[in-house]
């Protein structure tokens, strides 16, 4: 052996080369191993699947959720999107984010949005709702019964209502960070305007899964299809993907990368504000009064189904706005027409128009439909 090596020193390099090859091959194999395992589920119609879903009981679980958004958002100034602070809810609008999710199957749940040396936690337990942000050590407490004001963990279309009527708020962003939350949002849109099909033989987080595919029948929307995957064994929602029209890759993808159905220990749901944290308590009843400052008028819905557009007027003080917000607005392309003039925020899924006189229109529709809705409203 050493005689060979002495004669041909180059042969020694076989050792590091082989080690490198083994490491690369091994890691690739490990990464794709569960995905390659074949899935052979009996096919189910959409009707069967929906019935199964409503019959399913909530299941205790803990797991890791990865959320990827590639909406094609314009580059916003640093600090506006929270892109540098990956644990903030607004930062969810771009890039890939990881959250840990725990649910005890009954009344307690927790979502931990992981950032670099930072964490945002939403905890629902018997003392109410707690929102903890490690970046500024703030605690928001909504006293009350557990999980009554959070999105329901099961996504049967029947119970998908509470708390879901608000526009995009940080709470909404939180809701959209779990597969359950996005699924509830999507199922609300389900009605005769939609073609519903199913897909079996998916494997997500190592679990065999059925997939519900919702395809809008109208051409007036930017949404191509919404795919929601459910665990074939207990119908826990495992992944939601939203595709823009004609896109091969999902614009929004929220799904478990690992999941376990073992009941998490109760200590996971315990939360007591730590010393030195700034605690704000919000009473649900008084909060409703806060969010309606004078000059606020309820937005109206123009159009129907997938092509509907939300049109409304911003409160007066919001249009005068902070300098930072005006700077962002200036970066957006300006648009004008018979409806007036304003700025357009265009993404692959959602378009938003803010007019110079403080009106807004938002919808999963092409920009032209927004202009039409503004002209009518």
């Amino acid at each position: 052996m050493s005689a060979i090596l002495a004669r041909r020193p180059v042969l020694r390099w076989v050792a590091p080369g082989a080690a490198l090859a083994v490491i690369i091959a091994g890691s690739q194999l490990a990464a794709h191993w569960p995905a390659n395992a074949a899935v052979s589920l009996p096919p189910k119609t959409a009707q069967q699947l929906l019935v199964d879903l409503q019959g399913a009981t909530p299941h205790a679980l803990s797991g890791t959720v990865k959320a990827t958004a590639s909406l094609g958002l314009p580059q916003l100034p640093e600090g506006m999107t929270g892109a540098d602070d990956s644990a903030s809810p607004l930062g969810l609008l771009s890039g890939t984010h990881t959250a840990k999710v725990w649910y005890d199957g009954k009344t307690s749940g927790r979502i931990a949005l992981l950032g670099d040396s930072a964490e945002t936690d939403l905890v629902a337990n018997s003392s109410g709702l707690w929102l903890w942000q490690s970046s500024d050590k703030s605690v928001l407490h909504v006293p009350g019964g557990s999980l009554t004001s959070t999105p329901p963990r099961r996504t049967g279309p029947v119970h998908a209502e509470p708390g879901s009527r608000q526009a995009i708020t940080p709470g909404m962003a939180q809701q959209l960070s779990t597969p359950e939350g996005v699924a509830a949002f999507a199922l609300r849109m389900l009605d005769p305007s939609t073609q519903v099909t199913t897909d079996s033989n998916e494997r997500i987080a190592g679990r065999a899964a059925y997939q519900l595919v919702l395809t809008p029948k109208t051409s007036g929307t930017t949404i191509g299809s919404i795919r929601i995957a459910f665990d074939a064994a207990n119908f826990t929602p495992l992944r939601t993907e939203i595709f823009a029209k004609g896109a091969a890759k999902p614009a929004v993808n929220v799904g478990f990368s690992s999941i376990s159905y073992q009941r998490p220990s109760a200590s996971v749901f315990a939360f007591r504000p730590p010393a030195g944290a700034s605690v704000k308590t919000v009473n649900p009843s008084t909060k409703a009064g806060h969010t309606r400052p004078s000059g606020f008028s309820a937005p109206q819905l123009v159009g129907k189904d997938w092509a509907s557009v939300l049109v409304g007027k911003l409160p007066a003080h919001a249009t005068s706005g902070a300098a930072k917000e005006r700077d962002v607005l200036r970066m957006l392309p300006s648009v004008s027409g018979s409806w007036g003039s304003g700025h357009l925020l265009s993404t692959s899924l959602v378009n938003v128009v803010l007019t110079d006189d403080g009106r807004y229109a938002i919808g999963a529709v092409p920009a032209a439909s927004l202009y039409a809705a503004l002209g009518r409203g």
């Binding site: 090596l5 020193p9 180059v10 020694r12 390099w13 050792a15 590091p16 080690a19 490198l20 490491i23 890791t64 602070d85 890039g95 890939t96 840990k100 931990a112 992981l114 950032g115 670099d116 040396s117 930072a118 964490e119 936690d121 707690w130 903890w132 490690s134 970046s135 500024d136 050590k137 605690v139 996971v268 315990a270 939360f271 007591r272 504000p273 730590p274 010393a275 030195g276 944290a277």
Partner: protein
């Protein structure tokens, strides 16, 4: 063999430049603690999230913050300096051929050199953590620690997590030392080996900061170095740490084998 290893440790610990480097490493947590103490009244928040905001609440966080801060420059620089010196330094001063006259074999020389580097890495990282924790506790006091998840853990549990974090960082540095050792076998100029190792580290940090190269990040040695921060969640998140350790191990194995292939087959003339 043991005697050889002991003399190697004495050699590394006894060098003036290594002692000076260690003093710099120890100075950072002290400066950090004093700076935070002097600016304590300033509004906090909004800064880079690297445990610095937590220091006021509990001095132990000086150690975590110092580890996070030194991970990008000072610790890799110290490891590059010592590991670049390991073989190239001996070759440069002409002592390598005498070293090889002892009946030890080249593989054994390499093994002892790497052992010495791992020893150096542990001494360097533990110096930062211990000095940080002691200075922090002396200036800011201590008690239970607030985790990133907003829950509190006892001082004992916090110190245990600090210990595990310190070992994790030291293992990461040991892996860099293997890379440095390989580079050191390629040249007879210790400065060149040190600079090359430092440049490789810096290049990996740069690549790690480019989001468009996301597919490459899991393969970079430095990518998981800061993963010990996940241990300060509640419950502690070990995923990043295990991934980091496997990357560390991969780099160490490949670099040590490469160092062996180079060193064992090399003509030693100096």
């Amino acid at each position: 063999m043991m005697r050889f290893a002991r003399s190697e440790m004495r050699l590394i610990a006894g060098r003036r430049r290594n002692q000076a480097g260690l003093a710099v490493l120890a100075a950072v947590p002290i400066l950090l603690a004093i700076a935070v103490r002097l600016t304590e009244s300033n509004p906090r928040g909004g800064g880079p999230p690297s445990f610095i905001d937590d220091i006021v609440g509990n001095g132990v966080f000086v150690a975590f913050a110092a580890l996070t801060l030194q991970l990008t420059l000072f610790l890799p620089l110290a490891i590059s300096m010592v590991s670049g010196d390991a073989i190239a330094g001996e070759a440069h001063t002409g002592t390598l051929r005498y070293l090889l006259t002892v009946p030890a074999g080249r593989s054994r020389v390499l093994a002892v050199k790497y052992f010495g580097l791992v020893f150096g890495a542990f001494v360097a990282v533990f110096t930062v953590a211990v000095v940080g924790a002691l200075v922090g506790m002396a200036i800011f006091g201590t008690g239970s620690l607030t985790t990133l998840s907003g829950t509190q853990i006892s001082l004992g549990a916090g110190l245990l997590r600090l210990f595990v974090s310190t070992v994790y960082v030291a293992l990461g540095m040991s892996s860099l030392a293997a890379l440095g050792l390989f580079v050191s076998t390629l040249t007879t100029q210790p400065i060149a080996a040190t600079v090359a190792t430092m440049v490789l580290t810096a290049a990996m940090w740069v690549l790690d900061a480019v989001p468009q190269l996301g597919w490459l990040h899991p393969w970079l040695l430095v990518d998981h170095w800061a993963a010990f921060a996940d241990l300060m969640r509640d419950p502690a998140d070990w995923g990043g740490v295990w991934r980091g350790l496997s990357v560390d191990l991969g780099y160490a194995v490949v670099c040590l084998l490469a160092a062996w292939a180079r060193f064992d087959g090399k003509d030693i003339t100096t």
